[in-house]
Symmetry: C2
Subunit: 172 residues, 2 copies
DNA sequence: GCAGGATTGTATGGTGACAAACTATTTGAG
DNA sequence: CTCAAATAGTTTGTCACCATACAATCCTGC
């Protein structure tokens, strides 16, 4: 393949302000949203894990989303939950297992469709959800602190839009 | 549990346009950047995986970043690379092992510091890098397609800013 | 009704990531 | 100089996730 493959990289304004300590050049990477989405997500998660470790045990970041979604959508099925949560249904099985074992969630067979489970949040589950909510809010404040005030809303808006449209594109 | 724990959720404009098919309510989740970062990253990765599966074999998304970083920073060490890439150094060991085995990368002991390896991209490695670059560009176009023209630059700018500042905050 | 296909959830296997423990070096305090 | 601490890389253990295959249930066409 002789061609230079210039291929017009997206942006590549070449900021070259790496995330690491010294001056690592990112090159073409610096134009890719995909790269920075992964980095940003990693940072966000690490910040949460750090706080969680410093505070109590409760390291489960994903449980908050699950408890919230069940609380907001009583009777939701595992498949619908997994889709709203962006994870595979098979990943959800052990999570629901544990939440049920801890008494946070109940599984009831749906009469009109006996393959499916109807998920409900218990009172204990709601207490757990609120605790995790506080941790999530604390983490969110941390994320906010590195953004200009207006940027936070802008970023949230674009991430929502992006998520919705990508979901449609992938499914369709 | 008497107290309501209102706790002023960040935004919660309650769009409630879930990513899934039906009308799943996201509730408090809809105000969290952390939640949407994870969703967006998942979507981006799934889109790439789908394309990769449709095209050839080359499913390795992370290899592109590694090859690019080595190419841009000849002689970089594994630890510096892992930091720039946002992954643990122990995760990098098997990756470099394979890239070396395939003849894409060379490891040389640094004379002035014999603990460290100096990483270099080979000619074959650069060819591989270019192939993966094309795939990455194709994926990036897909991500672009769901954003308004101006939004792409805005999103990239904010993700960069966010990534850099978070990295500093976590290390410091 | 009644096969054949779609769906709901589960079990299993593989992958990729981190943390912690380890070896080999380098650095620094005294 | 020497020994303790820090650093570079690897190894091991664990965990979360997905893909695949599976059992049960449902829906459809005929």
């Amino acid at each position: 393949m002789p061609s230079p493959i210039k291929a017009k990289i997206p942006t590549q304004s070449d900021d070259e302000t790496a995330s690491a300590r010294p001056d690592v050049k990112l090159g073409e990477l610096s134009g890719f949203i995909g790269f920075y989405l992964r980095m940003a997500q990693t940072m966000s998660f690490q910040a949460y894990a750090k706080d969680a470790a410093a505070a109590g045990r409760t390291i489960r970041a994903g449980h908050f989303a699950v408890l919230t979604l069940i609380g907001e959508n009583p009777g939701i099925t595992q498949t619908a939950l997994s889709r709203a949560n962006g994870r595979d249904k098979s990943s959800l099985t052990p999570v629901i297992d544990e939440l049920e074992r801890r008494g946070f969630v109940t599984r009831h067979r749906v009469e009109s469709n006996r393959r499916a489970y109807s998920l409900q949040l218990t009172a204990d589950g709601d207490v757990a959800r609120r605790k995790l909510l506080l941790a999530a809010i604390a983490n969110e404040r941390r994320l906010e602190s590195v953004l200009d005030p207006g940027d936070r809303e802008e970023l949230l808006r674009m991430l929502k839009l992006f998520t919705e449209k990508m979901a449609k594109q992938i499914e369709g």
